[in-house]
C-alpha cells in the first residue's frame, strides 16, 4: 500500500508538474492567468485520438502532429485574442475562459461528448518492490521528468532562458536592455502550450477522453501554482508533487476519497497560504504586498 501510494503519487505529481510549470511560466512572464491552459492538454489528447484512430496514422506521427497542432493553436489564441487585452487582468481571464468554452464546444461538435479511449503507447508492466507498474505509467513519469529537466536547462542555461527570466522580473527594463518583449511573450506562450500538450499526450492512454476533461486539472494546477508561489517554476514543480501525493493519499486512505481528493488538496492550499501568503517559493513584490 505504501509502495502504491508512492508510485501513484509520483506519476500524478509528474503530470501535474508538466501542466503547472507551463501555467506558472506564462503567469510569471506575462502576469496573466490563462484559464485555457488545460484546454491545450485536452486538445492534444483529442488530437492523438483523431490522428491515430480516425486517420490511422502510426502512433509516433500522431503524437508529434498533435503536439505541433496544439502549439500552433496556442500561439494563434495568444496572437489573436489575448495579446490585445493583455493589460486588463480580469479581461484576460474571461477571454481565456471563453476560449476554453469555445474549444470544448468544438470538441463536442467534432467528437460528441461520449467518452473515448486511445490505445496505450506501450504494453506490459514492470514489478517494482511488489507493485505492478505498467510501462505506460513509467513512460508518463519518465517523459514528465525529462521534459521538466529540459525546461530547467532552457531557462537557466540558454540566452533565451535568460531573456524569459528577465522579462518575468521586469518587462520594461528587459525591453530597455534590447529584449523583444512581445516575441518573448509569444515564445513563452508557445512553450506553455507545448508543455500542456505534452502532458495531455503522455496521460492520454491512461484516461478516457471527454470534452470537459480540462476543468478538474485546471483547478488542481491553480492550487499547485498558488501553493508553490505564482510565477515560481521551482515552486510549481514541488507543489505539483505535494498536491499529487495528497490526492493519492486521500483516495487510498479515506472512505469516499474520490470525492474528497480535490477538496483536501484545495484545503491544504488554503492552509499553506494562511501561513505564507506568497506561497512556498513565491517572492512578495513590494507593490503586490499587503
Amino acid at each position: 500500500m505504501v509502495e502504491g501510494i508512492i508510485i501513484q503519487g509520483l506519476i500524478k505529481g509528474g503530470t501535474y508538474a508538466l501542466l503547472a510549470v507551463g501555467f506558472s511560466l506564462i503567469f510569471g512572464v506575462a502576469r496573466m492567468i490563462n484559464l485555457a491552459h488545460t484546454c491545450f492538454y485536452m486538445l492534444a489528447a483529442y488530437g492523438i485520438y483523431y490522428f491515430a484512430k480516425e486517420l490511422e496514422m502510426p502512433l509516433a506521427a500522431a503524437v508529434v502532429l498533435s503536439l505541433l497542432a496544439t502549439t500552433v493553436i496556442g500561439i494563434l489564441t495568444y496572437r489573436l485574442f489575448i495579446d490585445r487585452v493583455r493589460e486588463h487582468h480580469v479581461t484576460v481571464m474571461l477571454i481565456t475562459l471563453a476560449m476554453a468554452m469555445i474549444f470544448q464546444e468544438f470538441m463536442i461538435m467534432a467528437f460528441s461528448s461520449e467518452p473515448l479511449g486511445t490505445p496505450s503507447f506501450v504494453s506490459g508492466y514492470w514489478t517494482i518492490i511488489g507493485v505492478k507498474v505498467s510501462y505506460q505509467n513509467l513512460l508518463t513519469f519518465g517523459i514528465a521528468l525529462a521534459v521538466l529537466v529540459c525546461v530547467w536547462a532552457l531557462l537557466s542555461k540558454t540566452r533565451l532562458g535568460v531573456a524569459i527570466r528577465a522579462t518575468a522580473q521586469d518587462s520594461e527594463i528587459a525591453n530597455l536592455m534590447g529584449i523583444n518583449v512581445r516575441r518573448i511573450l509569444l515564445i513563452t506562450m508557445a512553450l506553455a502550450a507545448a508543455l500542456a500538450a505534452i502532458a495531455g499526450a503522455v496521460v492520454t492512454p491512461t484516461l478516457t477522453l471527454v470534452p470537459t476533461m480540462w476543468t478538474s486539472p485546471l483547478v488542481m494546477i491553480m492550487a499547485i501554482v498558488v501553493l508553490g508561489g505564482l510565477g515560481s517554476v521551482k515552486g510549481s514543480f514541488i507543489g505539483a508533487f505535494i498536491i499529487g501525493f495528497i490526492e493519492v493519499l486521500v483516495v487510498f486512505l479515506l472512505p469516499g476519497g474520490a470525492f474528497l481528493k480535490g477538496a483536501f488538496a484545495l484545503l491544504v492550499m488554503v492552509l499553506i497560504l494562511l501561513i505564507r501568503p506568497e506561497g512556498l517559493f513565491g517572492v512578495a513584490f513590494e507593490e503586490e504586498r499587503l
Binding site: I33, L94, I95, Q104, F259, M269, V270, L273
Partner: protein
Amino acid sequence: MLAIPGRLLALIFFVVLFFIPLFLQGSSGSYYLRIFIFANMYVIFAVSWDLLSGYTGQLNFGHALFFGVAAYTTALLNIHLGWQPWATIPIGALAGVIAGLIVCLPALRLRGPYLALVTLAFPLILLGIIFAFTDFTGGELGISGLDRISDSRTTDYYISVAVMIVSVMIMWKLTDAGSSIIRTGIVFHAIREDEIAARASGINTIRYKLLAFAVAGFFAGIAGAFHAHFMRIAGPSNLELVLSFQVIIWTVFGGITSIYGPVVGVYILFPLMEFLRAAPEVRYLIFAGIVVIMLLFMPEGIAVWVRDKIERECPRCKLSNMAFRKTCRACNTYLYEHAGD
C-alpha cells in the same frame, strides 16, 4: 433625475419591469415570467459580486459559495424544520454573511490572483464535502421539494422585482463615492486603488473589507435562498465553478464597477442563453463567441460604453450631463474642448 440620461433609462427600466406581467399572459407568458424571475435573482447576485470585486477590488472567483450556502441552508431549514420562506430566506442570507466572513479571513492577507484562486477553492471544497456525505446533503440530486414562495407566478415575479430593486438600490447607495451620508463608497474605491494609502489615511481597511464581504455575502445569499425556493431545489449546481464564472461574465460584459453594469449584463445575457436553448448544439459556442467579441471591442463593458455615448461628465464640477449639451447644466463650463472660440 431627468437631466441625466442614464438615470432616466434606469427609471424607465424599473417602470417597464412593473408592467411586464400585463403583457405576458397564459402558459408561454408564464415561461417568460420565469426567465425574468431568474434574471432578477441573478441581478442581485451579480451586483453583489460587483460590490465586492469591482468596487472593493477583492477579486472573488468563488462567489457561488455565498449563493450555494444560502440555498442549502434554506433548503435544510425548510425540509427538516418546516420553516416558511419568509423565515428561511433571511436566515439563508445570514448564512451567506457567515460564509463571507469565513472567506474574508484568508482574504485579509491576500490580494489579486492569490485571492482569486483561494476564493475559487472554497465552493469546490464544500462541493467535495457535499458529494462525500450524501445522506445529509442529497449529493448529486440535491435537496428537492421546497415550499413555493407564493401560489402564483405573477406574485413570485412582483416579489422578485421588489427584492431586486431594493437590493440594487441599497448596494448602489453603499458604493456611491459621492454620497455625503455614508462613506463606504469612497472607502471601497480607496481600498481598491491603493490599500496602503487608505490605511495611511487612517481608514481601518480590515473592518471595511469585512463589511464588503459581509454585504456581498448577504445579497448573494438572498439571491441563493430565493432561487432555492423558486426552483424548489438546492443542488450542487448552486456551488459549481460555472456559476462563479457566470457571474463574472455577466458583470464584466455589462461593465464592472458600475452597479448598473451587472444589471444590464444579466438582462442581456441571461435571456439570450434561454433563447439559445432552441439551438442546443451551438448554445455555448455562440455565448462564448459573443463574450470574446464584446471583450475585444468594448473592454469596459456594454453599459459603460453606452453611458459614455449618452453622458458627458463636466470637466470642472464632475456633474453628469447629456452628451448633446455644449455647456454644463450647473456651471456652464464647456463640456468639449473646441477650437476657435
